[in-house]
């Protein structure tokens, strides 16, 4: 990455800041081009974008994912139903495409929550160090020691099963890892010149953290965010598979696989297609992570 830009004050600094800003824009353009040329990144992004489009618009051109058809349950793929029907006669294609919706709401929001909280914690602990750091990181360790799935189940059993609670639970449980990554990044940055310069100038701590350090650690945060996103999709699917989270008749992939796996011998299509869909989304997210990682490390 290029030399960090400091939010400085003197005229000379303002001039050098302008140059530096220009340099930064050039850097960003280069980055974007590199990303566009990276096959992994592009494939991943296409997959995710495709699913976003499906989540938004699939019902415009498919059959209804909710129309039950008691006479035509568990039908094999045919002209009438390209991917067959499920145990209540609903069109598998429609449900598979619409199943993206729930995941694409839960996972990104949970990730966002984790990023917000984790970045804040990481900044504070990395910057201040000392007692604050020790205490908070201990608490973070506590959260990390809890197995995500079990804790989620407990909390969901306790607080009920709305989508909002699932988002909050996953977000909170992912915060520790984000905060760790951010903390490491902050620890590296705080020894850099511009930070010291900023502190010598007497700038307030939160200013240093927010306006000086933060802009320069966006890269690891973004990468961490996409990693978390992949895990979030996985976790959300696992929770709905285990029966915690979404309710029928949602076409959510985890929920569908859980309820249709009874029929996997007679009607493999009810399970395979949501599975492939889920896999393609998570792989897509991971490819994005991969691509970003490669480009940022050059």
């Amino acid at each position: 990455m290029a030399e960090p830009v400091a939010a400085g004050r003197t005229a000379a600094e303002i001039q050098s800041n302008a140059d530096a800003a220009l340099e930064q824009r050039r850097q960003r353009r280069y980055l974007v081009h590199a990303l566009l040329r990276s096959p992994t990144f592009m494939i991943g992004t296409s997959s995710v974008v495709l699913w976003i489009l499906m989540a938004l618009f699939s019902t415009w051109f498919t059959q209804s994912p909710f129309d039950v058809n008691p006479m035509d349950t568990l039908q094999a793929p045919s002209a009438a139903h390209w991917l067959g029907t499920d145990d209540l006669g609903r069109d598998v294609l429609a449900r598979t495409l619409a199943g993206a919706r729930s995941v694409l709401i839960v996972a990104p929001l949970a990730t966002l929550l984790a990023l917000l909280m984790g970045t804040t914690i990481g900044l504070i602990t990395g910057f201040y160090r000392g007692i604050t750091d020790e205490v908070i990181m201990r608490l973070v360790d506590v959260l990390l020691a809890l197995p995500v799935v079990i804790t989620s189940i407990l909390i969901l059993s306790l607080l009920g099963q709305s989508v909002a609670i699932v988002i909050v639970v996953i977000g909170v449980l992912f915060t520790p890892l984000v905060s760790r990554t951010v903390r490491s990044a902050v620890l590296r940055e705080r020894e850099r010149e511009y930070v010291m310069a900023s502190r010598l100038r007497g700038e307030r701590s939160w200013f240093v953290m927010a306006r000086e350090i933060l802009p320069n650690i966006t890269a690891p945060i973004i990468v961490e965010g996409t990693v978390r996103l992949g895990y979030a999709v996985f976790t959300a699917a696992t929770l709905s598979f285990l029966g915690f989270g979404l309710q029928p008749p949602s076409p959510d992939w985890g929920l569908t696989i859980a309820s249709e796996r009874l029929f996997v011998q007679l009607a493999w299509w009810t399970v395979i297609f949501p599975a492939i869909a889920l896999a393609s989304l998570v792989v897509g997210v991971n490819l994005i992570t991969d691509g970003l990682g490669r480009v940022f490390s050059k």
């Binding site: 809890l146 799935v149 804790t151 407990l154 696992t238 985890g254 796996r261 599975a275 991971n286």
Partner: protein, 315 residues
Amino acid sequence: MTRLILRRLLLMVPTLILVSLLIFTLSEILPGDVGRTILGPYATPEQVAALNAELGVDEPIIQRYVAWLGNFVTGDWDTSPITDLEVRPQVMGALGNSLLLAGMALVVIIPLSIFLGVVAGLRKDGLLDRGITISTLSLTVIPEFVSGVILLVIFAVTLQWLPVTALAPEGSNLATRLYYLILPAIPLMFIELGYIARMARVGTVEVLARPYIRTAVLKGLPRRRVIFGHVLRNAMVPTVTVIGGQIGWLIGGLVVVETLFGYPGLGKLLVDAAKTHDVLVLEAGVLVVAVLYMLSNLSADVIVALLDPRVRQRA
């Protein structure tokens, strides 16, 4: 080195106390009561209340926590009022089963993933690299319940090459027990494959880029010696760290796989305990998991310190 280990072990204590407090609070305020679960839907509310009073469910939470903590650390894990089984043998037995399953998966997949990762790193950006990366990543992200069900239908039901259940008949020897665990272990192997391979690859690439490696190759040292001598050792550093961190996911994976195959491991035990509000089992089980998690992280850090002298000094 010893100081590092001791310090970490000591730090585990307050963390564990906090974990236990958290789990205790969560479990104790779960809805649905113990008395009702034991007596069933047909008992009258008065009978349920009487049983709950007998079980001490109504005492203040701090009092119960202290009592429970005292018992727990002295090894008295009590008996579950719901199942009438003693908690410790139940949890430890389940733990043993899970360790066997997880152990089997890890023993196979760690060497395999490292091998694949190193190969990918050595042939960086080549077709082999791409192929390995894509396929390991793809297998990794397939949720365990999906791969598990598919494998089950193909290998256990249709081809009948492997047994349908994960639990060997009582009294079987180790080999038989492992045979029954092949099918459930595979989904676990899949989910670990990608990340371990990736870290191994990253480590390999990093090491290969270092000047002294190039020097060694230019000087004429046989490549193989270079690889085994330096690359592997250093590729292991991030890999071991990741394995330590993956234990948490392994446990999640165990929950799903054990539920799917009906295998009486710790994961299934905890989910069942959460559903039936068997709080004693829940609390004991989660603490055991937390301890294991911390120990595995500690071990990972120790191994890394052993492999990388620089880390040792810093410690």
